[in-house]
């Protein structure tokens, strides 16, 4: 288990993901789903909606670049002492499933207790001075000696001109992400790869940057190295808690993609053009959400919203009821867009009890009333059209049943169109109704994802049988597909199902995806 070799970035995937124009015309005629980027079901027709240079790889590449020149330091023997402080003296026997249920934040938890140690995944954020900034479980104050040890490990290795990346021991992984002026540490008992864990830490890092901007972070720590950042982050812990919860459960974060509210394209186009018309000088993005699903997104020409930034917006809106009170107006940094400055977001629900939330992102902090006026104009126009009724109808069934696909053995799937950065997935079937079962299935998908995107031995496809389900994963340059079948199915059946499913998605793509994203 110890000493898994990492050889830095292996460019096994074609870097150029720009939609290929000549292929797109072919797509329209051919009923067979294309396997090539830009022709797969769900691919955008005009320009891509998100920045998606390398989606998943994009997230981790950054961290790997920093480390590439350094050899990985695996100090399983030497560090075992330090590790014990972090994870407890003994391996706690596979308790994975027992503590999933206690997902809620238990701040009062005793950090010296066995229960605290046995959490599946810990996340710590600390300053370079070793001060605790965030912990997923327990209180930060009680952890200053632990974070001190963590920082000592980081510094010790750095002194040798190396960078510590991970420690593997006792069925436990400790992953380090150094993003000056912060250090993030993940301690996991799951079977996720280092790369996956690193990706999650990266998300947490971006969450913090989105609240403060990197410029402000740097400024603070340049002036006062031992500043207690919790002062500035006060009241935002639940955003980070929630994001961690999403990382365990939301396929969008796993796939680096966003899902849409299924909606007839005519209705969606009407909503989009309404947003397009309600423009304003400093307005950069108009985003309409239905819960965790995207209804539409209109953007300024040449400005792209990265899926990570979009997920941070989803997390902000989804975590807080405060936007139901009135019209929200908040500074927000979109770190994948620019880590240096704030955008200002006007956040409001279309109607008091509605699920529809409109987010208008402006560059000007004094733009509140302009944005408020944009919303008013959009709503006025929309409420006169039948599309609004169609949209409200669509909200009643925000998902679809896998039975619609017509493959009896198929239980569930995730399908991501790489060029549009959008994915689709049916609701969980009967067998996966409980939270525990849903998280277990997500865990299986995560495993498959890890295998497909393994840093040194990536796979194109993967079929796996177990007592409870059979799984098939397939990645092409155009899409990523994860399927879950009943355990009674065969491999041949699974393979033939793929074609059938792709045809179904192609048939339904107008409804499931946003094919023609708009700009102002």
């Amino acid at each position: 288990m110890d000493g898994e070799a990492h050889k830095g970035t292996v460019s096994w995937e074609d870097g150029t993901l720009a939609p290929v124009d000549h292929l797109r015309s072919e797509r329209a005629d051919s009923p067979t789903p294309g396997l090539v980027e830009g022709t797969e079901p769900g691919a955008g027709q005009k320009s891509a909606m998100f920045v998606h240079a390398q989606s998943f790889e994009d997230l981790t590449a950054e961290a790997e670049d920093e480390v590439r020149r350094e050899a990985e330091l695996d100090k399983s023997g030497e560090c075992a002492e330090g590790l014990k402080v972090l994870v407890g003296e003994k391996t706690i026997e596979e308790q994975h499933n027992n503590d999933i249920t206690s997902e809620s934040r238990t701040k009062e938890e005793d950090v010296t207790g066995e229960a605290w140690r046995s959490h599946r995944k810990h996340v710590f954020v600390l300053s370079e001075a070793g001060k605790p900034i965030y912990t997923r479980y327990g209180t930060e104050e009680a952890l200053s000696s632990t974070t001190g040890v963590m920082m000592a490990l980081v510094s010790f290795v750095e002194a040798e001109k190396n960078i510590i990346r991970s420690i593997h021991a006792d069925g436990c992984k400790v992953v380090f992400l150094s993003k000056s002026p912060l250090v993030l540490v993940g301690v996991s008992r799951t079977c996720q790869s280092d790369k996956e864990l690193l990706r999650e830490l990266q998300y947490i890092y971006y969450q913090i940057v989105s609240l403060l901007t990197l410029t402000q972070l740097n400024h603070i720590f340049q002036h006062k190295q031992n500043y207690d950042l919790r002062r500035l982050l006060a009241g935002s812990e639940y955003l980070t808690d929630n994001l961690l919860h999403r990382l365990d459960r939301d396929p969008g974060l796993l796939l680096s993609a966003v899902t849409c509210l299924p909606l007839a394209s005519s209705a969606r186009d009407m909503v989009s053009s309404g947003l397009q018309a309600a423009k304003s000088k400093n307005l950069v993005f108009s985003i309409l959400l239905a819960g965790d699903r995207l209804v539409t997104l209109v953007r300024k020409k040449d400005q792209f919203l990265h899926h990570i930034d979009l997920h941070l917006v989803f997390n902000l809106v989804g975590s807080s009821s405060s936007f139901r009170e009135g019209e929200g107006w908040t500074p927000i940094c979109l770190p994948k867009f620019n880590t240096a400055g704030f955008f200002h977001a006007h956040i409001s629900y279309l109607e008091p009890a509605s699920e529809l939330c409109l987010i208008l992102v402006s560059t000007d902090r004094e733009d509140f009333f302009n944005m408020s006026d944009c919303k008013r104009r959009f709503l006025e126009r929309l409420s006169k059209r039948s599309a609004y009724q169609a949209l409200k109808e669509a909200l009643k069934c925000p998902s679809y049943s896998v039975a619609q696909v017509g493959i009896p053995e198929l239980r569930h799937f995730l399908y991501k169109s790489k060029s549009s950065g959008l994915y689709t997935s049916p609701e969980f079937p009967e067998v996966y109704q409980s939270d525990k079962e849903q998280e277990r299935l997500m865990g299986l998908y995560q495993d498959l994802h890890s295998s497909l995107h393994h840093p040194s031995r990536p796979l194109r496809s993967f079929y796996r049988c177990s007592e409870t389900e059979n799984l098939l994963a397939w990645v092409t340059s155009g899409f990523e597909l994860y399927l879950c079948f009943s355990p009674l199915g065969t491999k041949a059946l699974a393979v033939s199902a793929v074609n059938k499913l792709l045809k179904w998605i192609r048939k339904e793509e107008d409804r499931l995806f946003i094919l023609s994203p708009l700009t102002y």
Partner: protein
């Protein structure tokens, strides 16, 4: 620079009569106060801090007239402090809240009073002690003396209320008073404002935006 010059204009371009800003330490109950006044409800459940600020417009009857209050409910978190100026700039009234059971929140209230006195001399200040239902149940919980606060209010020319968003006690009275005070002074300010922004006078406008932005 050009965008800065137009700032004060855009921020007040809404059809509200009086801008009212809620200020105070986090978790003193600013949002609950607005929630009670505007929606006549008190939400129980885990505390959720406000993100950025929330705006709500509320019409209120004053004598024969209807006056629309534009209420800015700001976040108490230190993180947004730099941003707070845009919310209180040009405000006619500031409701500075403190928690009657938390003496540190009064220190924060003093900070806001000073800030307003320095930057917004035309803004009328209303000191508001929140959570009065708690001390109704147990007097020993009170950490802020009523008379001390009254003296402080007199000293700074502010009005003083103690409210409970849970029971609704004194909440309507507070906002009614804000609207009435605005109504009685509205005329004299209106004439003053019309000559307020002159883009021709570059120097003055620049000075204005500097003072109020930073």
């Amino acid at each position: 620079m050009t965008s800065r010059l137009s700032l004060p204009v855009t921020m007040s371009a809404m059809r509200v009569d009086a801008k009212v800003v809620m200020l105070g330490k986090e978790s003193v109950g600013k949002t609950s106060l607005v929630e009670r006044y505007v929606h006549h409800r008190f939400l129980v459940g885990p505390y959720q801090n406000t993100i950025g600020a929330a705006f709500v417009a509320k019409p209120i009857q004053v004598g024969e007239k209807v006056i629309t209050l534009g209420i800015w409910d700001t976040a108490g978190s230190e993180r947004y402090e730099a941003m707070s100026r845009i919310y209180y700039r040009g405000a006619r009234a500031a409701i500075v809240c403190y928690d009657l059971t938390d003496s540190s929140s009064f220190q924060r209230a003093r900070f806001w009073v000073k800030e307003l006195q320095n930057c917004e001399e035309h803004c009328k200040i209303y000191l508001c002690g929140t959570k009065s239902d708690l001390i109704g149940g147990d007097r020993s919980l009170r950490q802020i003396d009523y008379h001390d606060t009254q003296d402080f209010a007199d000293e700074i020319g502010a009005l003083h209320f103690e409210t409970s968003s849970k029971t609704g006690n004194n909440v309507d009275e507070l906002f009614q008073r804000v609207a009435e005070d605005y109504n009685s002074t509205a005329l004299q300010y209106m004439t003053a404002e019309e000559t307020g922004v002159d883009l021709g006078q570059k120097k003055d406008s620049y000075f204005y935006s500097c003072c109020h932005n930073n």
